[in-house]
Amino acid sequence: MTRSSPAGRARLDLLEPRDVARLGGLEVTTEGIVEGFLAGQHRSPRRGFSVEFAEHRMYQPGDELRYVDWKILARNDRLYVRQFEEETNLRAMLVCDTSRSMAWTGDPAARLTKLAYMQRLAAAIALVLLRQRDACGLIAFDDAVRALVPPRAPLAHWQLLGRTLAGLAPGQGTAAEGALRQVVDVLRRRGLVVFLSDLLLDRTLALKALKFLRHRGHQVLVLHVMDPAELALAGAAEVRFEDPESGEAIVLRPRDWAAAFQRTVEQAIAEWRASCRRRGIAYFPVTTDRPFGGVLREVLDRRAGARRP
């Protein structure tokens, strides 16, 4: 299924993630996603203003007209917008789970793995933030921190983030605490932490680390990446289900346990949501069949919250 913008170009942010991935590499498709996403915004995601001018930037669809520099337009017949220092002061860190459980999809023909989905989503978030002159960094972890890109604001920083994200490979177990605590070392000032994971980890330790980030004044957004097959069991014959990370296995008939499993997962999601709400953490469950645009909007709404005094 494809959706088109009014100009007739495909809105990649609204396409099925699997279809987007078929169009090209991560960096190319991410650009398309962000372009489509920004084009579809009724308002520019850049909110607030400052009297302290920073620089000019090429006009992009979605930018508010009040920031267009009409003098440059008159002189050069080109559209530029003015940007202000205030808009560059957000520092964001993407904390990405690359454990082995992330390299899984319930339907390889129809859906991306959780890791591939997360890579594209994180890349899109990073690009959106950088285009808004926010500083963005990246930490990838499995049972230890595997990659660390400190937050930088220049748009050229996207190349490094894109390459790093594209090079992420599934690791072993999951231990998010170390990575989350390392964020504190990287984000000296208050900023935004986006935690992307399937949350198949020690909930108590993870929540403790997330709470620690909140105490340091950071806005925290948890994106719970799940494959739709992890929400509903299917199949009639007896199957031995094995956890690729821990090796723990259980034999059962999916048909017999589908309802109980669904209740348990829904309860787990509810517990995550309640635990996060109590700690002032935003929580969004994201399934890998969901177009990137909707998720990006939620992230940017959270970014606005992070920028408010």
Binding site: W104, L200, E230, R240, F241, E242, V251
Partner: protein
């Protein structure tokens, strides 16, 4: 316990089928990678113990079902003992309390043996059984086992004769109106005089006391001859009947006159001369010395005496 078809017990091998299927079903199923195993474990851990128990119970039930089918097919036979339960049924109990039941043997009346047998039959009855008691009076009585046991206890040797053939026919009519399966039980000393023809449709069980019937003689007839007798008296002929050849003393009394003694035996009628004491109807009582059956040892008759002739 024995079996009608013991060779079918070989089918018990089939009881191994559920166990075999159980073992086959335990083979390793295909393995599928699934990251959210922790949720599966959480969802199943509460019910796993219960399911395992159900699993084993189901296996035991399946095995027992096969064993039961095979045993049933083999036709088990159990020795009869005690008072087994039976389906609701109807019973007519015929107790022959005719005069012959009063015969005493070794100090015990025959009727007591019949009563004991009747009580034993009633004791086997269930609460859902329909019960009737039929005695020499020919009146069917319906009641519970306890009620009829009381009726049996109240039975006394009757002077009337019980025609067993008619009693069995009446019992068969009673049972014909019953939907429950019926049975007729006759308890009698089986005197020849009581036997009659009958062709009941219901099953018939006849029982009599084990001890032999004693030899008996009784007063069969008291014949006063032509009447009226003259005022001074007359002659009465007493006829004995029975299977005892022994003779015995015979006492005959006319009215309130003293008893006249005589000697009588079966086949040898005794003529006794009686003197009268007045005119009109007088009672004549002939009585033998007591033997095992007292009921027929005494017989009463009447005789008419003419009034004295008056000269005018």
């Amino acid at each position: 316990m024995t079996f009608l078809h013991p060779w079918l017990l070989g089918g018990l091998v089939l009881a191994g089928i559920p166990i075999l299927l159980h073992l086959l079903a335990r083979r390793d199923p295909p393995t599928v990678a699934f990251p959210a195993v922790r949720y599966l474990v959480q969802a199943t851990e509460e019910a796993t113990r219960r399911l395992r128990l159900q699993h084993w119970l189901l296996l035991a039930l399946r095995t027992l079902l096969v064993v039961a089918l095979v045993l049933a097919a083999a036709g088990p036979q159990f020795p009869a003992r005690g008072v087994p339960g039976h389906a609701p049924s109807a019973l007519v109990l015929v107790v022959d309390n005719s005069a012959s039941s009063g015969a005493v043997r070794d100090g015990e009346p025959t009727l007591d043996a019949l009563r004991a047998a009747a009580r034993a039959v009633l004791a086997r009855a269930g609460s859902d059984d329909a019960l009737w008691l039929l005695a020499a009076d020919g009146v069917p009585r319906r009641g519970s086992a306890a009620e009829l046991a009381g009726e049996v206890g109240g039975l006394a040797p009757a002077t009337s004769r019980l025609d067993l053939g008619r009693a069995v026919a009446l019992a068969d009519e009673i049972l014909a109106s019953e939907r429950r399966p019926g049975e007729i039980v006759v308890l009698s000393d089986l005197q020849q005089s009581a036997l009659g023809a009958a062709a009941p449709r219901a099953p018939l069980l006849v029982a009599r006391p084990e001890r032999p019937v004693p030899a008996n003689r009784g007063v069969a007839a008291v014949d006063p001859g032509a009447q009226p007798w003259p005022p001074e008296g007359g002659r009465v002929t007493v006829v004995l009947a029975g299977d005892s050849g022994a003779g015995g003393a015979l006492g005959v009394q006319l009215g309130d006159r003293p008893v006249r003694q005589g000697y009588a035996a079966v086949g040898r009628p005794a003529d006794v001369v009686l003197t009268a004491g007045g005119a009109g109807w007088q009672r004549v009582v002939a009585e033998l010395a007591p033997d095992e059956l007292r009921a027929d040892d005494r017989r009463v008759g009447v005789v008419r005496l003419a009034p004295p002739v008056r000269a005018t």
